[in-house]
Point group: C2
Chain length 184, copies 2
C-alpha cells in the first residue's frame, strides 16, 4: 500500500524513469523499502492513470527511449493525506530469530557460520552508511529541512546497524558457549 508513497517521495526528491527508480530502490531507499522493477512499473502505470504522476517520453540515442515520471499535484496532496493517517502495524519477519530458537532442537554450532555471515553483512552496511554520511552530509551544521530529515533517517540506520552488530556478537557468544558445553 505504501509503495506508491515511497515512489512519490523519490520522485519529489528527483524525477526519473521506472528503471532509475528501481536502481534507487536497490541503493539508498532500498534500505528501508524494497521493490523490484516489476512492482515499480506496475504501480507507476496505475499512478499515472490516477493522475498522481505525469510522464514524459524522452528519446535517447545509443539507448532505448525512457519515460520520465514526476510527481503531480494530486500525488503531492495524496502524500500529505497519507502523512496524516495514523499508524501501521509494522509486520516483522525476523528469520534469524526463528533460526536461533530452532537451534535448540538441532546443533547450535550449525548456526555459527550463518550468524557470522550476517555479522559481516551488517558491518559492511554500517561502513557504507558512515561513508555515505561523510559524502552526502559533509557539514552537519548547514543542512536544509530536506537534508535534516534525510539525515535523521540515516542516523536511524546507523544506530540500527550498531545495535544489530552488538546483538549478533551476543548471539555468537551464546552459540559458542552452548557448543562448548554440549559438543555433538
Amino acid at each position: 500500500m505504501a509503495l506508491e508513497h515511497a515512489i512519490l517521495v523519490s520522485l519529489l526528491e528527483q524525477p526519473g524513469s521506472g528503471y532509475e527508480l528501481a536502481r534507487r530502490f536497490d541503493r539508498s531507499i532500498g534500505r528501508f523499502w524494497t521493490a523490484t522493477h516489476q512492482q515499480i512499473y506496475r504501480v507507476l502505470r496505475r499512478m499515472e492513470a490516477d493522475g498522481w504522476v505525469a510522464a514524459q517520453e524522452v528519446a535517447q540515442d545509443g539507448r532505448p527511449d525512457k519515460k520520465v515520471y514526476s510527481a503531480a499535484e494530486a500525488g503531492r496532496s495524496a502524500l500529505a493525506d497519507w502523512l496524516r493517517e495514523p499508524v501501521e502495524p509494522e509486520t516483522v519477519r525476523h528469520e534469524l530469530a526463528v533460526k536461533i530458537r530452532a537451534a535448540a532442537f538441532d546443533d547450535p554450532a550449525a548456526l555459527i557460520s550463518e550468524v557470522e555471515r550476517h555479522r559481516e553483512g551488517h558491518a559492511a552496511l554500517l561502513a557504507r552508511y558512515l561513508h555515505g554520511e561523510q559524502r552526502d552530509f559533509p557539514d552537519l551544521d548547514a543542512l536544509d529541512a530536506r537534508q535534516e530529515l534525510q539525515h535523521v533517517v540515516l542516523r536511524g540506520g546507523i544506530e540500527y546497524e550498531r545495535m544489530t552488530l552488538a546483538w549478533l556478537d551476543d548471539v555468537l557468544a551464546t552459540l559458542r558457549r552452548l557448543a562448548a558445553d554440549r559438543p555433538s
Copy 2:
C-alpha cells in the same frame, strides 16, 4: 517460505492446535514473525500432507473439537536442513522512514503526533519485554540450552526497542526544531 519453519519451532516447543498457534503468533512469537489464522491453517494442512507434522483430533466438551498438531520426525529434519541453508535478504519495510522523508514536502509538524504514538507503542512493548523477562527467566544463571536461546532472542528485542526509543526521541527533536524554524 519460512512460516513452516516458525510453526515447526513453535510445535517443537509445545504441541497445539491451529487456533492456539495463531494466538502464540499474536503474542510472543508474533514479535518477530507475524501470521494470521488463515495462513496457519493453510500451511498446517500442507505440512500434514507432507508428513512434517502429525495431527490428532481432540474432543472437548463445552467447545468445538480441535486438531492438535505436533512436529514429526520429517519436520524436525526439514528444520535442521533449513538451519544449514544460507541467508535471506531480510526485506525491510520501514513505513515511518518513508513518512519522515515525505515530511520534507509537507509540514513536518504534521508528523509529530504520529511519531509520538509510535514512541508510546515501543515504550509499551519494551515494558512488556522486561516484564516477560522477569516472569520467564527469573534466574539467569540456571537456564538450559532452549531457554538460553529464547533469552538471547529476547535480549535482541529489548535492545531493539531501546534503540528505537532513542531514535524516535531524536526524530521528535528534529521535527520540533524544523517546525519552530519555519512555522506553517
